[in-house]
Symmetry: C2
Subunit: 683 residues, 2 copies
């Protein structure tokens, strides 16, 4: 280029250069390293390289753009516009050539590395750079005088046309190659997988001509109880469908340790459990593809996050070592495998799978995914991140250091082992408020936006009924009972004579609080029993103790902010969580919800190959804390039993709520821990 050549300025990158008149915009973009997409390599058929030329004065760039700064609208553009439609002002970057100085805007959808904005405002965007991408390529026809294989000619074409060196493929791909090449008249689209650890790109699939049906990936959060998947467009990052199913391993044990026991007690039990979850994954993949109306064979990538026991059971590894000290993982690092190794037959037969690394024997790839999504290691202030499922994963960290542990909260937070508990499903009470004066409850059930004291509630819930309390409901119920003075700090429910409400009903030697009674109509009688309170106390003590253990290890007694993830963040009110003493207290405005952070971490790893490398690096640097062997964990666990527990000082919560100073201990009503009372100082 000479100084006489027209100047081309790209926005938003600001990259600029001079190019000979007649240079296609796509060529100029490539030479300048401007991120302008193209699947067909400039052949005017994929339309990925759409750009918008400016017209007029661009003083910021010192350029005045003439109306004819680009070559005239051509036949290729006309054909594309008639067939598919181009937005007004748009041109194809491979067709429009530079004529004089011009400013070219690359719209977001024309960028390869486009940013996908996440829903939560605080969350960083996902930069698109998936491991598998499409490339249109023209392959030389075979020549008897220069005999090479069709595959080797495809390899050569990709090197020549896309500068992609080194190709490999499964035999199943090579087996379909010849037909597709001939059907496409030697013009084909290939889906190429590349990750930073392989010397060669792998051909995942091949289609005749230009493949326009897209490529998809599944980000899968494989929980002990539920399996959730996001079907994600690998070009745009868009989530096309989200779906979840129950983990069928529940029939082998509700919690992780009972599944480990099942494997120990039943020869081949781990094989059964592996087969069950893999079958469920195929069902899930089929369903989600159907929901999104795509061909399941277009799913070419899967990413898994899960706890260590699920990790091993997914991979077909006996989890027995995870059930006993020293909790040795068979493998801890990230795995790059073929999906068919997991018997994922419902998706593309050559699809790839990435499994995030495990942090430790009790801290799994799900915690790694939270770290990938929430980036504790980049936090300026000290952040506590808590992801609650049947186990809680806890991360504590800032720029200087990140610590992690998991804590065996049990399934109480998910509504299991609760007398009126049930899984989150229509009809389940998910939110509850108790009037501190009248002690009367009002509540909301899943599937209806009305509160129970609002007009039309009975009609709106007639179909589902009011069937029980789910995880978030029981947490709110216990917290509200405490706020209303129905429960004392030790966790004891008062009888009617002390609480002054007939809703305090006798339940054996203890009391229960009656939320809803449909027994007259043959419906359920929904109460919170003393046993329920004890179950929640055990769970929240475990959670709190885990967080405290990390704080001890870090040498702090408070944190700057709390991030709630998982079901916790999505459905549990932070205020009620703090009333219960589930989390250390911080100002309420310092508690944020990250939604399904583990699932988001899986999506990030699905959409961005560098993120995989990043989380592998981060995980190696995380300090692992093993709760099971740490005597201080037991100490914190016992001390955290009260509601709120005896943290000292405990000032922040009380800016928001006032806890009643009641005590129902009568010395004998409750043998477990009712006799234990703790000093509380008000800040």
């Amino acid at each position: 280029m000479s100084s006489q050549d027209p100047l081309v300025v790209f926005t938003p990158s600001g990259k600029r250069g001079r190019f000979a008149a007649g240079t296609p915009i796509l060529t100029a973009a490539r030479q300048l390293g401007v991120d302008l997409d193209s699947v067909c390599g400039g052949r005017g058929i994929c339309s990925k390289c759409q750009i918008t030329p400016g017209v007029g004065e661009f003083s910021k760039h010192g350029v005045t753009v003439a109306p004819d700064a680009l070559s005239a609208w051509n036949a290729v553009e006309e054909r594309y516009d008639q067939k598919r439609g181009l937005k007004p002002g748009r041109r194809l970057g491979c067709q429009a050539t530079v004529q004089s100085d011009v400013v070219i805007d690359v719209p977001p959808e024309s960028q390869v590395h486009k940013q996908v904005v996440r829903k939560a405002a605080s969350a960083r965007a996902i930069l698109m750079d998936p491991a598998t991408r499409l490339f249109f390529v023209e392959v030389e026809e075979p020549d008897m005088h220069e005999p090479t294989g069709d595959f080797e000619r495809l390899e050569r074409a990709l090197e020549k046309q896309w500068d992609i060196k080194g190709l490999r493929a499964d035999l199943s791909l090579i087996g379909k190659l010849q037909k597709v090449l001939r059907k496409g008249d030697w013009r084909v689209t290939v889906a190429l997988h590349h990750d930073h650890r392989a010397a060669r790109s792998t051909v995942i699939d091949i289609w005749p001509g230009l493949h326009e049906a897209g490529l998809y990936g599944l980000a899968i959060d494989l929980g002990s109880t539920t399996v959730a998947a996001h079907l994600t467009d690998l070009e745009t990052g868009e989530v096309k469908a989200s779906s979840g199913i129950m983990n069928p391993q529940i029939r082998f044990g509700e919690d992780l340790m009972s599944r480990v026991s099942y494997a120990m007690m039943n020869p081949g039990g781990e094989v059964e459990m592996t087969a069950a979850v893999r079958e469920a994954l195929n069902t899930l993949a089929e369903e989600i593809a159907k929901e999104a109306e795509i061909d399941a064979s277009l799913i070419v990538e899967t990413v898994f996050v899960c706890n260590p026991v699920m990790h091993h059971l997914l991979l077909g590894i006996d989890p027995v070592e995870l059930g006993q000290a020293p909790f040795a993982l068979a493998t801890s690092e990230a795995l790059r495998i073929d999906a068919k190794e997991l018997d994922l037959t419902a998706i593309n037969p050559r699809a790839k799978t990435y499994v995030l690394p495990c942090i430790a024997g009790h801290v799994g790839a799900d915690a790694a995914a939270v770290a990938l999504s929430e980036e504790p290691g980049k936090s300026e202030d000290l952040a506590l991140m808590v992801d609650v499922g049947t186990n809680a994963e806890i991360l504590l960290g800032d720029k200087s250091r990140v610590l992690a542990c998991s804590s065996p909260t049990g399934p109480a937070f998910e509504g299991a082992q609760i007398s009126s508990g049930q899984r989150a499903a229509p009809g389940a009470i998910e939110a509850i408020r108790i009037d501190p004066e009248t002690k009367e409850p009002r509540f909301r059930v899943i599937g209806c936006d009305l509160w129970s004291d609002e007009e039309g509630f009975a009609e709106a819930t007639a179909a589902t009924g009011i069937t029980g309390i789910c995880g978030s409901g029981i947490i709110e119920a216990v917290a509200e009972m405490r706020l209303a003075g129905l429960v004392d700090p030790s966790g004891l429910i008062g009888g009617a004579e002390k609480t002054g409400t007939p809703r305090s009903v006798p339940e054996g030697r203890t009391h229960a609080y009656l939320i809803h009674d449909a027994s007259a109509e043959g419906g359920p009688r929904i109460t919170v029993t003393q046993g329920d309170i004890r179950a929640i106390q055990l769970a929240k003590s475990a959670l709190y103790a885990g967080a405290r253990l990390l704080m001890d290890t870090r040498g702090v007694d408070k944190v700057d902010r709390v991030v709630l993830a998982g079901a916790f963040g999505a459905h549990i009110s932070p205020l009620h969580a703090m009333v219960l003493g589930m989390i250390p207290d911080v100002p309420l405005d310092k508690v944020t919800s990250a939604g399904n952070a583990a699932g988001t971490g899986a999506r990030i790893a699905l959409c961005n190959i560098a993120a995989r490398k990043e989380i592998e690096r981060v995980v190696r640097q995380i300090t692992k804390v093993e709760t099971a062997i740490e005597p201080k964990f037991q100490e914190h666990f016992v001390n955290a039993n009260a509601i709120p527990h005896a943290t000292d000082p405990f000032p922040e919560l009380l800016k928001h709520v006032t806890l009643p100073d009641v005590s129902f201990n009568t010395g004998g009503d409750d043998g477990e821990s009712g006799g234990r009372r703790r000093r509380r100082r008000r800040g």
Copy 2:
């Protein structure tokens, strides 16, 4: 090391260096880069590092070795000697330490890169350097405070103890890892596969403690008719067993093109054929392991050589494109795949497979294997290499250039499509001589070393009978008939009135030569008919024309030497081949037999990883000549019809034999080509 330190000289390498007194010989060897084996890494348990110290004067090395130049025989050596026995004079290199100047001999069996001497005297030795080798390793136990996976600790141990960086494994290996590590008390032997294209070594298998049962590989020559395998010890290179079975695809078509047709005519036909050959391979693997009395799961490597159609059918690729111009291969380069991709379930589930590259659509991996074994590209003189099966692979070359083609000889050379023809099996006539005076035949059959005119022949062959003529037999028969004046140069068999023997019997409008008549006893009547002669003429013309085409392309009309490979080399007499005009004439002492060169090439690729790289490089440089489209091939084919054909000049053969100047053409007896006569000039 200082100049005061003892001097250690290793033989046969001649490497030398000074080492502090007390240095183990194994350590000295490693530091000097001396090729001294060790699986256990110097722990005194594998005994691979045996050495023989010299005693006395070594004037060649300028060293006098004292009797106590090495440390005293120690307890580890004593234990090993009692348990397994050490040869007299041998020490363990990891136990014996340097005390004063010493000369150490490394016996061949203690070298990693030992040479395996091949049977044929002319053949170069095979240098052992297989892709999969054993490593004994001690793995750190898991530690709760430093949680890493067992696999990652194995990886770290291999890096620390063996300097092997980067490890990967199939899930099935990771699934068995934890049990084996604990069973071996954290001391295990791993079989590691490494090839030059992968960044990481792959764990093929793992055993508790020191694995002493060895590692094996299968070198497989997958022919259209027979599948032959050599079970090879991957440590010593020794062939433990060789076995062959019929290719079950014969039921889909005797020759390659009929199998391609079967695939074209029958949807899914190629799938059937692939399944058939893979099943046969499993049977073969099981049988050969049983024969060698090894566990088939110790077979961790397989190498395949085969023609392009068999190549595709083995890999599960529809061979249809190989049946029509331009004969495009789906893939031509060497393949490194998992044996399980070929459904080879009889061997180790994680075994690796290497398939040699194909040279062209008609010139397969079998020809590449011949090139690997016989190295035409390293020949000082111009060598013609011919491997005859149902197709003939032909290589012509020297240091400056190598050319290759294949020629469709058909199955006549294998005894098929011959009236009394049969496969090489006991009872088949494999060699024949005809007395030029009496015209009486004498012959030998497979399974008996006696000639038919020797005493005891009838008794010795009573069990098998005399059942037919195999490939080498028919070639000799036709050549002997020509030498005895029973056949004229055009290929016409004379009647009894002209040949003067009652063995010239009428056969329709033509004549046949009666070799053996057991019809009185209900046995077969074995003749060579006019049709048989024509079939052999067609086959040998194709072979000869292929060789000539390469010579034309190279611009020569003679070659310096001929190498016969395959069944050709093993069973067919070079003299008779030349009488028939199968090969261009050279002095008889310039015709050598390479035995099963394709099978040997497979063995070399099995035993030496560098040979794989080498043949991949060589194949790319070979000039491919396509006989099917070359008009000159047809011309040579027609001209080569006579016995001997009308090569001009044709001097060399006649130094050895005199061909009778007969002609049986009577103008009408034989419509095919009997009327064609060619000028022959004697040199």
